[in-house]
Symmetry: D2
Subunit: 327 residues, 4 copies
């Protein structure tokens, strides 16, 4: 592994952890995480820097930690410039860094910065992971900064997002999480979210090694966020393939398109699917909006349940048509 | 264990799974779960009934499954009456059933019914667990029922709530989860929430044994909701004590009251704490609203960091006063 | 679920937990566990009875707890008769009990009894699960009983075995585990074993609910044995199938038969495989016994690594022959 | 983090991964792992090198990977010299490397080398972790080397050992594991062992990232060995303390010494404990060897159970004496 440092943006230090390629491992490129530690835009916390990079390195990623501009003299735009410059440098150096795709990973104020990249930057990361993030502009004035209001900037271009926080966070209220998630849902951005009952602000990995000796910074339940985020990122980037093409959330969703095993109400959402259903099994098409037990069944299930709404011939005809027009 | 059936409300069947008391196990009463299976208020699904009861039984709970009134002839109020009657019967029979505290656990439409108990009933459960719940009144007309709008009924009396669902649910959009969570947050109801990236509607335990042979009903990530909910319920009811008093989320939060290890900004939220701070460390009280790095530190941390804002004497004086007035 | 009691052998009580069949769940028969609690052949402990049954029920099994004969008046043979009678009754009642296959599950002395069934009985269980078992005859005299010496009774007929215990057990030394495992290995009986560093004797599920208030009876690491044993039993019985035939350890091992992806040294163990290798790639057949790096590679790997020992033609010829004679 | 390389022994390359100290993290020294990859003493596999180092780094360790001498020209003693030199260098450089204690971690032939350090070297590691290790001298001739027979070299000085392997390993039979474990048990060396039912030889972390594209090198069950080994190493080295002194397996065992909550038979193993018991509760001392239900109970339990063998006065007297002479 190479560990080295470069400078981006307004003199921000980017520490790069790049794993050795290996013929034996048969891995050419790896997904990358760009880690943005928190610290209220006043400093960048060690607790959310190298230990986080190492956690992702151990899961096969290459990792990059940005010490973006902070402090009273650095307006938000300067921090944001640094983050944009870091991402641009990663994109430009992808081959040399053996990376393929970049997730922005940020905590608290660093989560705000990562989410700014994911919403307000032209060059967006491919995925976003945020822990107990600040997302609301109202958080700016108390720290003397003019920061972006993330929920209002979400669009369909915002990348898939993973968020964790705690209901028990008194420093950054859980509203910051919920308003962001609602915006993602409104724009159909795929997301995953874990909001734990207990846990103080700033848990980082929630393990003894990031606790600085504080017992309330260790929480086994919250510590699950890291492996959960790894699973999420594999759903975005694909895993380390052992045969054929990697599976992603997009291939999973694609398998859920128009077909015989899809709920009728979802089939009706699809123009071609709805037309085919009306042609081959009109009684089903009519019943579904009125009867949820029909709507949530697949055509195949209706047949198996002996529903009088379909015949084997209708199902066969429908299958032939859908297979012809399906993937 | 006794397994027996009783009838409550409008003839609804309540199956009771009551574990044998045992001198050796030293357990007199157990928390109870009242399981409300889903099925769009048209039926109650076996997949969300006995297997769910068994999952909680194995974790030490007593379990009760209610086959509440469903179907075109049963208006929502009839289902709701059944649920209220079941809870009333559990409360009245607590001694005989060896139970101490009741959580309502519901899925999909059963989640709506459980949430109705937790918001609109006078006799509320002590905790609420909902999976991919319907919460919005707009879901009623398509199924021909007039159902409650849960988010608008949330108050500070709503019990602690655990919610899981999937972003990928096309039958009950994730908005049902997010609007409910936002209402809980607005009323300071403690909650925990897991919204997974992938997963079809109706996953139940998301294990092969509840999948009815469908591969898309098995999901290892989502299956984590059950142990997570058990941890949540133990935080509400206390665990099976091995020494002294059980710890609950309330005892955890109580330890976070006014003290030397609490962030300054939280100390300032407390009237007595703020007064003590201004008396012993006025510079800190002044700096905190202006400097987040002060606000998020505890007084003890400031001292350790060598901040010029406090002296050892000030900390000692503050500690003496807080200890005198603290827990 | 039905819970009922029957009497077998010398008046031993067998409590039966039989899950309801359900059209919706599409499960006709389930594997069964016959639970034999421990207690030094002096009693049968509640801590290793119903809670263990419930843990397996929650994972989809049907469960049966036997209170076999114990105490000073009951010689070992009487306890053994009870266990044999229980297993015979389960076999005879399989249809009515909706079961398909039986695993004997025993703890401490109950582990000895389960292992006696698995080695010395004619009608053996299909799998064996033992926790901190007594296996050595030397344990008999101190408790005034004449018990079987399990390791010396192991044969190739002994069913697949799962064993857990702790190195820290002062009541039943870990030698009881190791001598049993060595006998299994010597007779090529497939097994899985977890021996934990720490943990007192008699942990049962190692969870608060079986701890009877004793903190040293709770151990998160050891508690992993239950899900591990469930995975093991699924490898023996097959899981709950979501498509096609269930996979078992036998199907996994079968895929490891003679083929292009098997290490050369294993290929050479197979008569037909060795002959084919000598015919198509004689240099490889000669090099393997001398060079471990060849021996542990598959023929396909050698080709990919550019080893001079094989040509693409040789590999193609070998594949054709092996495929012809392979699975 | 610094990543750098040094040379030890017969020109062997030692890659050092040393985490940055951080005031904020409050960690001065970390336990170290010395990783010895496998490869049949013919090469050192990348699959068992950097990915393993990263897995332990992420858990807070500092890590060191040794590319010891291998190949036909390097006799075993040369490899062994390299390993001894690496350990000596780590001991000598402990301050500069911020390390406190060293565990040797080896796989397959590297497991043999690590076990050689732990048994036959004067300067032994503080803990041993081996995966699917070769331990029997009989493995030497086939690879043309004269290697140590580990089981026969085990003494009471051998450090605590963690071992994992698979029953299904055809390259290195499970006998290599069992004979080693039996030797450890015979010499009262604390150990933990996980032998999985299924899994080919050479699984490394058993995750996709170390599988080199081979599906049979991924196994979720076996992948559990890494976190299990981390827990084991924390029991040896102590964890990252959040308050007071770290807890180790020795402090756990110490709490199990002579006392009121220890089983009678263990109390009788202790000279002073046995004398005290005979003085205060002679009936118990007499009954224990004859009655297992007495032997396995603690004196406090006997009292609680209303056993006629003890009086409250006897227990009080015993407690006073044991507390006087106990910890």
């Amino acid at each position: 592994m190479r560990v080295f440092t470069t400078t981006v943006g307004h003199g921000a230090e980017l520490t790069c952890y790049v794993q050795d390629p290996s013929e034996e491992l048969a891995l050419k490129a790896r997904p990358a995480v760009l880690v943005l530690p928190g610290g209220g835009y006043f400093f960048t916390s060690d607790r959310e820097a190298e230990p986080v990079a190492l956690a992702y390195l151990a899961e096969g990623f290459n990792a990059f930690v940005l010490r973006y501009s902070t402090g009273a003299d650095a307006p938000f735009e300067q921090s944001f410039d640094d983050a944009k410059a870091a991402l641009a440098w990663l994109r430009a150096s992808a081959d040399d860094l053996h990376i393929d795709g970049v997730a922005a990973v940020g905590f608290s104020a660093g989560g705000h910065l990562a989410a700014s990249l994911a919403t307000a930057a032209t060059n967006k990361p491919d995925a976003l992971v945020v822990g107990y993030p600040v997302t609301l502009a109202e958080f700016g004035p108390p720290i003397g900064k003019d920061i972006l209001d993330i929920p209002s900037l979400v669009t369909g271009e915002t990348p898939p997002t993973f968020l964790f926080s705690t209901c028990d966070d008194v420093l950054v209220p859980v509203r910051n999480s919920l308003e962001f998630l609602s915006a993602l849902a409104a724009h159909h951005v795929p997301f995953e979210s874990h909001i734990y009952l207990l846990g103080v602000h700033g848990l980082s990995l929630a393990k003894p090694l990031t606790a600085s000796g504080r017992a309330d910074h260790v929480d086994e339940a919250v510590a699950q966020w890291l492996p959960d985020s790894v699973r999420f990122l594999r759903a975005v980037f694909g895993g380390f393939t052992t045969s054929g093409e990697p599976e992603t959330y997009e291939t999973v969703l694609a398998r859920r398109v128009v077909g015989m095993d899809m709920p009728i109400n979802r089939l009706l959402d699809d123009e071609a699917g709805a037309a085919a259903l009306r042609r081959h099994a009109p009684a089903v098409a009519e019943a579904a909006p009125l009867d949820l037990s029909v709507a949530r069944s697949s055509i195949r299930q209706l047949l198996e349940q002996g529903s009088g709404l379909v015949t084997p011939e209708a199902v066969a005809g429908l299958e032939a048509e859908l297979t012809g027009q399906g993937k």
